[in-house]
Amino acid sequence: MNHRLAAWITLLSASLVLLALVFQQQLGAYLGLLLHWAIILSTMTLLIALAGLMLAHLRKISGQDHGILYSLVLLVSFLAALAGGLFMGLENQQYLKWIAAIIRPLESSLLALLALVLAGTVVTLFRRRGWSPMSVSFVLFTLIFLVIGLGFLQGLQNSTVNRLIAFFQRLPGIGIRGLLIGLSLGSPFYGSAVYLWDGEAKQ
């Protein structure tokens, strides 16, 4: 199928959903229908990707490739979780507790690892990026928010300090809004460039 046709179908569907969102009174019922289709489609992709993943690991095991142990662990964990979900039910508190008891420590350890990596990268930031205004302001504001976050300055009960803290606490909000506007506008520009692709960049 022509890739442009798929892109135009996507554009048309997205525009229809947007229109239905604007004219909710008139088109609300159709919007619900479309959203339910999207949910079913999204769930189907999950199932297909899951089947693909399992097949890939089964192939790895049968071909005795490198990392066969990881594939075995994955398959056994998947089958155990599937069996638990099928027999005990997804809402079963014992089942959820059992799953959370495995996932939470794993994710928490990755989070702890990330904290260490973050500390390490901040230390090496100047070596990597040099003394640019961006890197200096990054480290400076990290330190300022670290001090504010500790709460000692708030304990001084000084009105000038409190006003300064309030000023600094407003700054991230302003920056976030600016970046979000940029990202939100960058996305349609990128999409428009795809739809008006004139073939010059294909080589």
Partner: protein, 274 residues
């Protein structure tokens, strides 16, 4: 979502699927302002596009990260190595975010050039739909390919069902001895630091195009090559009229929004705006 997650999407309340019988959020003044900005952006893009098609001038500016990606592609082709991609974990599941698909264009370009590298381009995605679309992208090149082994769709895989699991699953990409660089493009959070750190330890470059705020902060810390702000969507150098017009329109919108914010601040100080 079956399990509680540590990380919530910033627009979760707007983007989560409505439950049965639940109505959609109603539009407010902010939505109207966003709609007006979108229309203004679209208008400026169309004007710039017509201008670029007529003049055919070289682009005024080219995002550094896009140029770096192009350089990595050429270097990999010369060395006979390959590039690895992480396409992000935020696209359709559990919270829909279309900006999460921004890495597909560069991935398509790189996988098409696999014939020059003599190695298949490989990618991991933390979202099942994104992984399947990535496979379809490779399948598109595979259809009429000569060296079929370089265009295997299974080289694109779903690496995990949560952001943490997917980044942990994608770390296997960095192990390959023929790997020249890791390109992370799409929707992801600070978890990518684990991958960029591993690349730094292997003395290999990583290039990051983050479509989220937390991803941009992490990329600033973890990678020497990154695209900040809206440049995150410009993953390839602007060689055609549409891409050049996009960049030009972005610059126009930057100036307009800057002026608008200054005007709003002045009006607020003057007491006109409450």
């Amino acid at each position: 979502m079956p399990f509680p997650s540590h990380e919530k999407h910033p627009n979760q309340h707007l983007l989560s699927w409505p439950k049965s019988g639940e109505s959609m959020p109603t539009l407010n003044n902010n939505d109207a302002l966003a709609g007006a900005l979108f229309l203004l952006a679209l208008l400026s893009f169309i004007v710039c596009w017509f201008y670029q098609r007529r003049k055919k001038r070289p682009s005024q500016r080219s995002p550094q990260a896009a140029l770096a990606a192009e350089a990595f592609l050429h270097a990999a082709a010369e060395e006979g190595s390959h590039l690895s991609f992480y396409l992000g974990s935020r696209f359709a599941w559990p919270y829909p975010d279309l900006s999460g698909a921004s890495g597909l264009a560069l991935y398509s370009l790189a996988s098409k050039r696999a014939i020059f590298n003599d190695h298949a381009t490989q990618a991991a995605a933390g979202d099942p739909a994104l992984a399947l679309i990535g496979q379809m992208v490779t399948q598109g090149h595979y259809k009429n390919a000569v060296a079929l082994e370089l265009f295997r769709p299974e080289r694109t895989f779903w690496s995990g069902s949560s952001p943490w699991a997917s980044i942990a699953g994608s770390l296997s990409l960095t192990d390959s001895p023929a790997n020249a660089a890791l390109i992370l493009s799409g929707g992801f959070g600070p978890e990518i630091l684990l991958a960029t750190e591993q690349m730094t330890r292997s003395s290999l470059p990583s290039l990051v195009f983050p479509a989220t705020l937390s991803g941009q902060t992490a990329a600033f810390l973890g990678s020497a090559y990154l695209a900040l702000g809206e440049d995150a969507f410009q993953t390839t150098p602007p060689v055609n009229a549409a891409a050049k017009a996009g960049l030009q329109a972005q610059d126009i919108m930057r100036i307009l929004i800057g002026l608008g914010l200054i005007a709003a601040a002045v009006l607020k100080l003057a007491g006109v705006l409450q």
